[in-house]
């Protein structure tokens, strides 16, 4: 019976993918190499800049910011002070800044790329039909898989980490932008058209402002996914809290691993509450 199934010999998808990646790497190295170099330098500079600021000042700034954006409540501010001090106390401040740099840049890039694609999707059924399955693919493919071409393109370090994170974390922003714009009430869209808006006037004066809350929810998700991805990216040499977890794993050090994990959780909570509050406040 299996002969039926064996009728077609094994398709060399793995080899094809490899060849394709090799081809991409060699063909576009003129593009990848400068990115690796310049963007890598830029990221190192950013995290060095953050490290040059005394930890106390950063903690105070984060706390004051938390107090202001949460509507003058103390909860988040107190949590930020205690949490960040704890990370400092455990000697993980440098790793924290590195991880934060990665998350920050990966998220910014995701938003810059994701929002326009979301707008495109909301405006065209064809675009939506093409992009939706790609997004599904991007999100369901195990995140580790992205690390492999990332290394091929950009070597090891921060840059491939950001690249992998981009692929993994951009979809929510695209989806929510599309959703937000499509949810804008038909009457409002009609109103803007009835008064003679051009396409871009409609987009910037009505659709994007109306979809803002939804888009921000998507961005919040993107930021959280970026964080989870930059932790995984430690496997290809991205520095930060993830690397601590990874090395504890390799050496079976439960304690260190746990401490670094808690650090990630604290960072996640602070970032999450920050983005959510920014969203709520502007509504």
């Amino acid at each position: 019976m299996d002969k039926v199934l064996d009728f077609i010999p094994s398709i060399p998808l793995a080899e094809m993918t490899e060849d394709f990646t090799d081809w991409l790497t060699s063909t576009f190295s003129f593009l990848f190499d400068p990115i690796k170099e310049h963007f890598g330098t830029f990221m190192e500079t950013t995290s060095e800049f953050l490290l040059n600021i005394p930890a106390l000042i950063i903690i105070v700034l984060v706390a004051v910011g938390a107090f202001l954006i949460s509507g003058k409540k103390f909860g988040l501010a107190v949590f930020s002070i205690v949490g960040l001090w704890f990370i400092y106390n455990q000697g993980l401040w440098e790793q924290l800044m590195e991880t934060f740099t990665l998350v920050l840049l990966a998220s910014i890039l995701s938003v810059i790329i994701g929002v326009p694609f979301g707008i495109l999707m909301s405006k065209s059924r064809t675009a939506e039909a093409i992009i939706t399955p790609i997004l599904d693919f991007m999100q369901t493919m195990p995140a580790f898989v992205y690390l492999i071409p990332a290394v091929a393109f950009f070597g090891i370090g921060m840059v491939p980490g950001v690249f992998a994170s981009l692929i993994f974390a951009t979809p929510p922003t695209v989806r929510f932008t599309n959703l937000g714009i499509r949810q804008v009430s038909k009457e409002l869209v009609e109103a803007s058209e009835a008064f003679g808006s051009t396409g871009s006037q409609k987009l910037f004066k009505v659709e994007l402002p109306m979809a803002k809350a939804t888009i921000m929810a998507g961005i919040n998700q993107t930021v959280m996914l970026s964080l989870s991805m930059v932790v995984i990216a430690s496997m290809i040499g991205a520095p930060g809290l993830g690397r601590e977890v990874l090395s504890s794993l390799q050496r079976a050090q439960v304690g260190t691993g746990f401490v670094a994990g808690v650090g990630i959780v604290i960072l996640a909570i602070v970032i999450d509450r920050y983005t959510q509050n920014v969203n709520a406040k502007k509504e």
Binding site: S185, E187, L188, E190, A191, S192, E193, A194, F195, G196, S197, T198, Q201, K205, V206, P209, M210, K212
Partner: protein, 399 residues
């Protein structure tokens, strides 16, 4: 030249448009066409024209195509067939840019659910139409403020729409539409989402505003009372087609077919009928020729207990009662001077039914309908009740 002119304006939604039109030509109904082709007939060959300064009401039940029709006028919905002309220019042939220009300068729209931008203040909402024309900030603020003043919202400039009541929100919608001083206002069920009392206020206000603005208004509604109240002319729609166009009175008094008749059956006729619709030819005696004896005889003939007295030019002089006339005859009086009574309840031809109720309720004698001092008719209680019930003969020609 009419401001708006629609010629065979049609909209079919869905595929098989050609087949749907063919079946329409064969006289099939909307439901039959939906079943056979899967296409929905939105508007079926609407032809009408609206003159400058007119309030043209398009009325129909939900699903009759009236909201589609109003969107065909500014091409928010593309017509499948037919043409729409604004000031003689064919809108259906325009490219996007020309269409935008017309929308910006000539056509404004007011929406059923207000469609205010929640992220903008009242002032910014009113400015919207000017803002997208890139009018300088100062000028557009000035115009928007004027429009808001006009609808009585001068004091709410910096509130957000959700801080206002429904009636006030729709005033903002109206101000937004008026701010760029359009020729034509398209009002899509503009007052339908408001509660009845507020709705009435808004109708009154629209009528007041219209008296000074003289815009051309296309007003969509499903409420016949509203249509009768504000419309100069009414177009009645059914299944996408216009069934009848006419003044409120024509629609009510001469329904074109059973559908219209059924539609107007429940209307509060007291709001549209006035004295001349229900008055009767008066039985009178002439003060110059007749005396109490003739009067009594005529009253007996007609079965009346009183009668109006006029002179030879039909000027109303007063009335006499049967009792007084019979007293006078016994006393041998031969003229009316002593028994003539002058406290006559008078109305003119245009007095609405609602006022007639109160007068006739208190009056022992019929009401006199007077024009320039001359008696032109009388109104008796029975006629009022019959007219309200929609049964009595209603006069149109002598209006």
């Amino acid at each position: 030249m009419p401001v708006i002119e629609a010629k065979n304006l049609s909209k079919v939604f869905g595929k098989n448009k050609k087949q749907a039109f063919k079946l329409l030509d064969q006289g099939l109904t909307k439901d039959e066409i939906l079943e056979k082709t899967g296409a929905t007939v939105g508007v079926n060959r609407a032809t009408f024209s609206v003159e400058a300064g007119e309030i043209f009401v398009i009325m129909g039940l939900s699903g009759s195509g009236k909201s589609t029709l109003v969107r065909l006028i500014n091409r928010l919905i593309e017509p499948s067939e037919g043409n729409i002309y604004i000031d003689g220019e064919d809108l259906s042939a325009m490219d996007k840019q020309e269409l935008r220009k017309i929308r910006r300068e000539k056509l404004s729209m007011v929406f059923q659910r207000f469609a205010l931008f929640p992220h903008r203040t009242i002032l910014e909402n009113a400015e919207f139409g000017l803002e997208i024309q890139n009018v300088p900030k100062e000028e557009r603020e000035k115009k928007a403020k004027e429009a808001l003043e006009m609808v009585g919202l001068g004091g709410y400039l910096h509130q957000k729409p959700n801080q206002l009541s429904g009636g006030m929100q729709q005033r903002v919608g109206l101000a937004r539409a008026l701010a760029n001083d359009p020729e034509v206002l398209l009002m899509d069920e503009a007052f339908s989402a408001l509660d009845p009392l507020i709705r009435k206020d808004m109708q009154d206000e629209l009528i007041d505003l219209q008296a000074s603005m003289k815009k051309t208004i296309v007003f969509i509604t499903h409420d016949l009372d509203e249509a009768l109240r504000i419309g100069d002319r009414i177009a009645l729609m059914k299944d996408g087609a216009i069934v009848q166009i006419g003044s409120p009175e024509e629609i009510l008094v001469n329904p074109a077919n059973d559908y219209v008749e059924k539609f107007v059956e429940d209307v509060d006729r007291s709001k549209v009928l006035s004295a001349h619709h229900i008055m009767k030819r008066p039985e009178t005696v002439n003060i110059e020729k007749h005396g109490p004896r003739v009067a009594l005889e005529r009253m007996r003939e007609e079965g009346l207990s009183s009668m109006f007295v006029v002179d030879s030019k039909r000027n109303l002089k007063g009335y006499i009662t049967a009792d007084d006339a019979s007293d006078a005859r016994q006393k041998g009086i031969t003229n009316f001077q002593d028994i003539l009574q002058n406290d006559i309840p008078k109305v003119d031809k245009e007095t609405p039914m609602t006022e007639i109720f109160d007068m006739i309720y208190d009056s022992p004698i019929p009401l006199a309908v007077v024009e320039n001092g001359k008696l032109v008719g009388i109104i008796v209680r029975g006629a009022v009740i019959a007219a309200l019930a929609g049964e009595g003969e209603v006069n149109v020609d002598n209006g």
